[in-house]
């Protein structure tokens, strides 16, 4: 009977993000699962469709400048040249030392299976669901990072952290995960806690979420039992923290601190990629944030950087040609950025399809020649020892893994 009840609750909670199986922190001390090894994975979702052809420019192809006369493609790129054919966008120049030491790589001409309708929101849903295009992303019940946790031996509720305020569907699902924003706090008197638990008792969503919130806030030292809580002065101080909490370096720093403790997996989002107009300005800013995130992770992870893989993925790429307003519209193939000491960097992975019109997808977008999921699956294989069958059926159902690209150092 108890089992049946537990199971039912388990299923009821299956779709909510951050539904950890942690028991009430009032009843039992927080228990930490044994961490699944020392390797760390950070997933950064670039929301809004990063222009892969601008972030990692195929400067060796003269068509690039022809297609994009107004996007600054002909600027001097000696400082960010990668391999004689590709160059990083100048906003990523500070990542060049990582490239040179083999801690930065790119997978180019990649995409999810999403095609043709070019909707950000459907594109992101499919990216996070990690399914094939035959499954409606919005209908998917869980995300691929959560499904990986479901098969990862030794994973506990503090193994994976979704960071920030925006929903991270790639981490939602049956496996317990933690979810928090760097500015979060929870201050209540012991009596108020008991009463709150009582009030939430019959509402599974509020109950489970509040238990998670209490457990996380406590374990991070962000909870007090101050029965006076926040004064109006504290509320003003909280605004400052709230304003900074979305910054790339603050998100990355929070991630690094978790990864220096029990966590092995972290995910957060960076926005600002939807550069329909005046792209040069917009993407410089967005790439600067991505650069900050990667460098913050490197500096704050210390020696653990060597065991870390960072993957930055986006829902799709943008048009090969600039549009009429010095920007680019929604496209298909794009780029994925990989960093970390665990990565075999200093190279651009993938089959380059070329930019001739006939080689473009729908004569408009960079042709995707590989699936982002395949690269991520190989990373999981290398970092966590997950076998190909599990990866192709459970984590990314229906994915045919391409040959091992050898992403890991």
């Amino acid at each position: 009977m108890a089992d049946a009840l537990t199971r039912r609750r388990f299923l009821l909670r299956a779709t909510a993000l951050g539904c950890s199986a942690a028991a009430s922190p009032l009843m039992t001390p927080m228990t930490f699962a044994q961490a699944p090894g020392e390797n760390r994975l950070v997933v950064i979702i670039l929301r809004g469709a990063m222009d892969g052809l601008d972030a990692v420019r195929p400067i060796g192809d003269p068509l690039l400048r022809q297609y994009r006369p107004g996007l600054g493609m002909s600027l001097e790129s000696a400082a960010t040249e990668l391999d004689g054919f590709f160059a990083l966008h100048p906003a990523l120049a500070e990542l060049m030392p990582l490239w040179k030491q083999g801690d930065l790589a790119v997978a180019h001409a990649v995409s999810t299976p999403y095609r043709d309708k070019r909707s950000h929101f459907d594109g992101q849903d499919l990216l996070e669901a990690g399914t094939g295009a035959d499954v409606d992303g919005a209908q998917a019940r869980d995300g691929w990072l959560n499904r990986m946790l479901q098969v990862l031996p030794g994973a506990g509720s503090e193994t994976a952290f979704a960071i920030g305020r925006s929903e991270m569907k790639l981490m939602s699902g049956r496996a317990p995960v933690s979810s928090w924003s760097p500015d979060g706090r929870l201050d209540m008197s012991p009596q108020a806690r008991l009463l709150l638990e009582e009030i939430y008792h019959d509402d599974p969503l509020f109950h489970d979420t509040s238990m998670d919130a209490l457990a996380i806030a406590e374990s991070l030292g962000l909870a007090s039992d101050d029965s006076f809580g926040m004064s109006s002065r504290d509320m003003r101080a909280a605004v400052k923290a709230a304003n900074a909490a979305g910054d790339a370096s603050v998100l990355a720093s929070f991630a690094a601190r978790r990864l220096n403790e029990e966590a092995r997996i972290a995910a957060f989002s960076l926005g600002g990629w939807d550069t329909h107009r005046a792209q040069t300005r917009g993407i410089t800013r967005a790439l600067g944030n991505l650069k900050d995130a990667i460098l913050t992770l490197q500096s704050e992870l210390g020696p653990r950087w060597e065991k870390t893989a960072v993957v930055a993925v986006t829902e799709f790429g943008r048009t090969a040609r600039e549009n009429g307003t010095r920007g680019t519209d929604h496209g298909t193939g794009g780029a994925m950025i990989l960093g970390g000491g665990a990565i075999r960097g200093g190279r651009v992975y993938g089959d380059w399809p070329g930019l001739e019109e006939a080689a473009l997808y729908a004569r408009r977008d960079l042709m995707p020649t590989s699936d982002v999921r395949s690269y991520i699956a190989w990373l999981m294989h290398g970092l966590y020892g997950l076998d190909k069958t599990t990866l192709g059926t459970v984590v990314f159902p229906g994915l045919h893994l391409a040959d091992d690209p050898g992403l890991l150092a």
Partner: protein, 458 residues
């Protein structure tokens, strides 16, 4: 569950208020939309077109400051520009007080809810230093007057609003073969795509990339000017007819009527009818709404040519509107205004809030709850699903606000034992009532009631 006045006030209003009667019937809810818009009159917000003069002035000062930045008057010019910009921003940020006051005191709360629904459906974000705080003015001028009219009129108002044309880049889109393109400028697909995907047909609708492209061509010429608002520019209109969704538009001399003809048609497209009906149902009743109710709403839409009153009527008269009570979780803005409504925060206090108090009590906490004031991440607006809001970090922020804000705003708080009745009426449950009695302080008692699922849900 069936209709009760308290449920009506909570689901289709801004929540209960000690001194304001809840609607006595379903018709009572609809009656709120039938008379004059009282709250807008009592707490005015500057409509966008009244700002064009100020926009022009600030922009002229900015240009002068930029031109003269190396001249002898550089400091003076820069000061004049910054002063004018500051005045504009202070004025626009001040819209927070009337916005909250309307929700707190109105006897027509369904109007406020519908205004927010449509403002979200037609999300814009102010992208430049003039418009960054002007979204309430856009809503006042473009959305609010149309929420009880025809969908096509609302759609046309939005598509000719400077805020939308700027937000989704239509302003700079040029017909590549037009005279104005001079072989250099061209199309931007942004508005065309979102118009089909978000505003009308829905992403599952019957359109393809070719329709997006053709619509982008059809929309050329729809631009704005800072001092005048909407301007149709024949010179940049793509020559020739365009075929969108199987129908041909234009072909003669450039005319804004061609775009309007398309907007009239797409407003009545079966996919639009369905998409709009479903979206309203999701927002007001359930993340998984009853298909029968959506069908009734869609029928009413189709039968009246998109009269929104008829669609609301169909929704409210369907039993699911009441039986699904409690399935929605309030968004942060709804949570905060409903708490302020039952706490009776006086409009005079709100007017006196300075910037730091506005941020500490309202906009900062809303950001922590996941809803940055008038700055959603994309044109799809705010999420609907309960799970998107009730996250550990989001819920923690709600609890923090519930425990801290009331006592920061008021010197004395109501007795939790009476507050539980005022806040929850006939939806109060035993556990909340018990907690109201058992709390150690008024502050925590009030906080627990506001943090309870009974108050957070609707």
């Amino acid at each position: 569950m069936a209709f009760t006045p308290d449920i009506a006030a909570i689901r289709f209003g801004e929540g209960l208020a000690p001194e304001i009667a809840a609607p006595a019937s379903v018709e009572g809810v609809l009656d709120q939309l039938r008379g004059a818009d009282l709250a807008a009159k009592e707490f005015p917000i500057t409509p966008l077109s009244d700002l064009y003069g100020t926009f022009a002035k600030v922009s002229t000062l900015q240009k002068a400051a930029r031109r003269g930045r190396k001249g002898p008057d550089a400091q003076e010019l820069s000061k004049a520009y910054k002063q004018a910009r500051r005045e504009l921003n202070l004025h626009l940020e001040g819209a927070l007080a009337p916005l909250l006051s309307r929700s707190i005191t109105t006897e027509q709360p369904f109007r406020e809810r519908l205004t927010r629904f449509w403002a979200d459906h037609f999300t814009v974000v102010g992208k430049n230093n003039l418009t960054r705080n002007a979204v309430p003015s856009y809503i006042e001028e473009t959305i609010r007057p149309h929420i009880t009219g025809r969908f096509s009129d609302l759609l046309k108002a939005v598509m000719t609003s400077p805020m939308m044309l700027d937000y989704l880049d239509q302003n700079s889109s040029v017909g590549p073969n037009s005279r104005g393109a001079k072989g250099r400028r061209g199309l931007n697909e942004n508005l065309a795509r979102e118009l089909l995907e978000l505003h009308t047909l829905g992403v599952g609708g019957a359109y393809a990339q070719g329709d997006v492209r053709q619509l982008a061509e059809l929309l050329t010429g729809m631009t704005t000017e800072i001092s005048r608002g909407f301007v149709f520019r024949p010179k940049i209109v793509e020559p020739g007819a365009e075929t969108v969704l199987g129908q041909s538009y234009g072909g003669g001399p450039p005319a804004v009527e061609d775009v309007m003809a398309f907007l009239d048609d797409v407003a009545l497209h079966p996919d639009t009818v369905r998409h709009i009906s479903r979206k309203l149902a999701v927002h007001f009743t359930s993340d998984r709404p009853d298909e029968g109710m959506i069908a009734d709403m869609a029928d009413a839409y189709a039968a009246t040519g998109g009269e929104l009153m008829a669609v609301y009527e169909a929704m409210l008269h369907h039993p699911f509107a009441w039986s699904s009570f409690g399935q929605k979780v309030k968004q942060p803005v709804d949570f905060i205004v409903s708490a302020m409504r039952v706490l009776e925060v006086p409009p005079t206090s709100l007017r006196q809030f300075n910037r730091s108090k506005r941020r500490a009590y309202v906009t900062g906490p809303m950001t922590a709850m996941g809803q940055q004031w008038f700055r959603p991440a994309g044109p799809d607006g705010w999420p609907e699903e309960a799970e998107a809001w009730v996250t550990p970090q989001g819920l923690a922020a709600r609890i923090q606000w519930a425990m801290a804000a009331p006592s920061a705003i008021f010197r004395s708080l109501p007795d939790p034992r009476s507050f539980v009745v005022a806040a929850l009426g006939d939806v109060a449950d035993e556990k909340v009532t018990f907690a109201a009695r058992a709390a150690e302080t008024r502050r925590e008692g009030v906080g627990l009631i506001l943090a309870s699922p009974a108050f957070q849900r609707r």
